[in-house]
């Protein structure tokens, strides 16, 4: 109803009301009549569509006079903003002053000039529209903030997000009913709704809607643009006649929820009377559709991240998987320097075995081996950097700090060696002769993302890595070779034998190394 205006004419004189309403009609203004102030306040306090824009008020009236009425309007929070033009035959300046003091917008004396009456009403309408716009803007802004707040605080709860969006959208565009339909493999189903609910509606929900001219949701699915049916009763293509009869809606609006060009759903708003949604209401619902899209995407992203984390942890060490999704992950991945214990292990005789074995045998051996060793790595909190065939590199003290990193590494290696004995026994029966060797070194390494776009590893680079790798190469089957520093860190818990100084490829000087014989029995705790 923008453009026109609705005037409440308050006058006890029937002749004057007749003249006023007719003058207003000829100026393109609609009007409602009240014969006194009391009745006027009743009308103003009813919720009506369209709302009253201006009050034309007589001063001398029975029941409740103009002064009292004016005071009541200005004392009512919900009516205060309404422009009131006082018209009276009381020509005294005194009454005009009193009316202005009480908050009247304007004052006209009888006889009035119709053109001036019209001009003053139009001026008041402009004021009223500005006020309404400001109020509407604030109302919408507040509601949008509330929705954003819900979206940002309920990222895991799609139901709450959608319920808030649809409730707020319907309320702000004065629709009795609202719903959000989400696309699921070609069908649209209700994910949230406000307003009345009937068995028929429930049945329709369960069935879902398909793209087509028969429903608003279907039309939005076809056009991917806002669609309005001003009156479903006069729309030839509209098919939900039985549902309409029960629910009683007349004007329908559907707005697409889209993300990156994909239609993910539709917001529907319905009125129980025929009143087209205005351009600004359609824009408003579109803004809510955008919020819904963000909310849906957030929730789906959280779900995806959860799933990816789960997937990743099956491939990566759980530490790296959780690092990737942690807030400080990016910083950690960018690279940092830290002391670490690096462990290399591989199978002796594997190359020869792989050349002669059938693929099924080969993968069977690797599966058993990775399975057994993998669980020990996890158990001791190691980070598996990579495994290539039979070789594995594991480090400790990163990304999660472990003050006892060297001890953990050695305990893991000893446990692996023990487990390997069992595996080797089984393999030997099948005719496979395989051994197991380990190299362990302690030192500073640069840790972080290594590789190239598309294929990155979380890795450790430094002399310590090279040293551990070389020690592993030198290890005889069943040996766990420690660097000097690694031994120094664990000498309290291991029995080790020196294997002499080894000349290792890539290292300028021979390095001393020790083989772990066994873990020391735990010292009995002295009785107190």
């Amino acid at each position: 109803m923008a453009g026109a205006g609705l005037v409440l004419v308050v006058d006890d004189n029937q002749v004057n009301r007749l003249i006023l309403t007719r003058l207003l009609t000829s100026q393109g203004l609609a009007s409602i009549e009240a014969e006194n102030g009391k009745r006027a306040l009743e009308i103003l306090r009813e919720s009506r569509e369209p709302a009253i824009d201006v009050v034309l008020l007589d001063v001398l009236m029975p029941e409740m006079d103009g002064y009292e009425t004016l005071a009541a309007i200005k004392g009512d929070e919900a009516l205060r903003h309404l422009p009131v033009i006082v018209i009276s035959g009381v020509e005294e300046l005194e009454s005009a002053v009193r009316c202005i003091e009480l908050g009247a917008t304007d004052y006209l004396t009888k006889p009035y000039n119709p053109a001036i009456l019209g001009a003053r009403i139009r001026a008041s309408l402009v004021d009223k529209r500005l006020h309404d716009l400001e109020f509407e803007y604030l109302e919408r802004q507040t509601a949008m903030n509330e929705v954003l707040e819900v979206i940002s605080t309920s990222a895991f709860d799609l139901r709450t997000v959608l319920a808030t969006v649809v409730e707020t959208a319907a309320r702000l565009c004065r629709a009795e009913y609202g719903s959000i339909w989400l696309a699921e493999s070609g069908l649209f189903r209700v994910a949230a709704n406000v307003g009345e609910s009937t068995a028929l509606l429930e049945a329709q929900r369960a069935r879902g809607l398909t793209p087509g001219r028969g429903t608003v949701v279907g039309r939005v699915a076809l056009s991917r643009a806002p669609v309005q049916i001003i009156d479903v009763l006069t729309d030839a293509d509209y098919e939900q006649t039985e549902l309409q009869r029960v629910a009683g809606f007349r004007t329908l609006l559907g707005v697409p929820i889209q993300r990156d060009g994909d239609l993910i759903g539709v917001i529907l708003a319905a009125r129980n009377h025929v009143l087209p949604f205005t351009e600004s209401e359609i824009l408003l619902v579109t803004a809510f559709a955008d919020q819904a899209a963000i909310g849906i995407q957030n929730v789906r992203q959280v779900e995806t991240i959860g799933r990816q984390k789960e997937e990743l942890s099956r491939f990566l060490s759980p530490q790296v998987a959780s690092l990737i999704s942690s807030p400080e992950g990016e910083e950690m991945l960018a690279g940092h320097r830290r002391q670490a214990t690096v462990v290399f292990c591989d199978l002796r005789g594997f190359t020869a075995f792989s050349e002669t074995a059938e693929p099924e045998e080969l993968f069977g051996v690797l599966r058993d081996y990775h399975g057994a060793m993998g669980s020990l790595i996890v158990e001791h909190g190691g980070t598996l950097e990579h495994f290539a065939g039979d070789g594995m590199m594991i480090f400790f003290n990163d990304p999660v700090a472990q003050p006892d990193h060297a001890t953990r590494a050695v305990r893991m290696a000893v446990a692996m060696r023990e487990r390997f004995v069992d595996l080797a026994t089984v393999w030997r029966k099948r005719g496979y002769e395989l051994g197991f060797g380990v190299g362990i070194a302690v030192g500073y390494a640069t840790l972080g993302r290594i590789g190239f776009e598309g294929r990155f590893d979380y890795g450790a680079i430094g002399n310590v890595t090279i040293l551990a790798s070389r020690l592993c190469s030198e290890a005889q089957s069943g040996q766990i070779l420690l660097s000097q520093r690694a031994y120094a860190a664990v000498e309290d818990i291991v029995e080790a034998e020196a294997v002499g100084e080894l000349t290792l490829k890539g290292l300028s000087r021979p390095v001393p190394a020790l083989n772990v014989m066994s873990l020391k029995a735990r010292e009995p705790i002295p009785a107190s």
Binding site: D12, V15, R22, L23, L60, K110
Partner: protein, 123 residues
């Protein structure tokens, strides 16, 4: 001011109103009819108040009649009612019987003038 120098019916008031509503004769006829029905009731109320010597009861009908009469161009009648309203508010109605008789006579003349105006409009 007694109102004797004012015209009984100033046709310019209704002519202007008619022009303001796009020459809607139907509306002017409806307005005249409404005024005559409502006016008769107001004149009766004025008579009853004067007969009862009740100034408080006179204020409203005199006020209403003053206003609607002015709206249709019945200037002298409006002025007579204005005088009655003012006196009624002060609580004293002098020459009540005589003024009532004059009011009745004026109301009848206004009626004839409005009939003539309506007839002229129909031509």
């Amino acid at each position: 001011m007694t109102g004797s120098d004012l015209p009984t019916f100033d046709s310019a008031v209704l002519q202007e109103l008619r022009a303001s509503v796009g020459g809607d004769d139907g509306f002017i006829s409806e307005l005249i009819a409404t005024y005559r029905v409502d006016g008769a009731a107001q004149v009766d109320s004025i008579e009853a108040a004067i007969a009862a010597g009740d100034p408080a009861a006179l204020v409203r009908p005199a006020h209403t009649m003053k206003s609607s009469s002015a709206s249709v161009g019945a200037q002298r009648l409006s002025e007579m009612c204005r005088g009655l309203e003012l006196d009624a508010r002060s609580g004293l109605i002098a020459d009540g019987e005589a003024r009532l008789a004059a009011l009745r006579a004026e109301w009848s003349e206004v009626g004839e003038a409005l009939d003539r105006f309506a007839a002229g409009m129909a031509d």
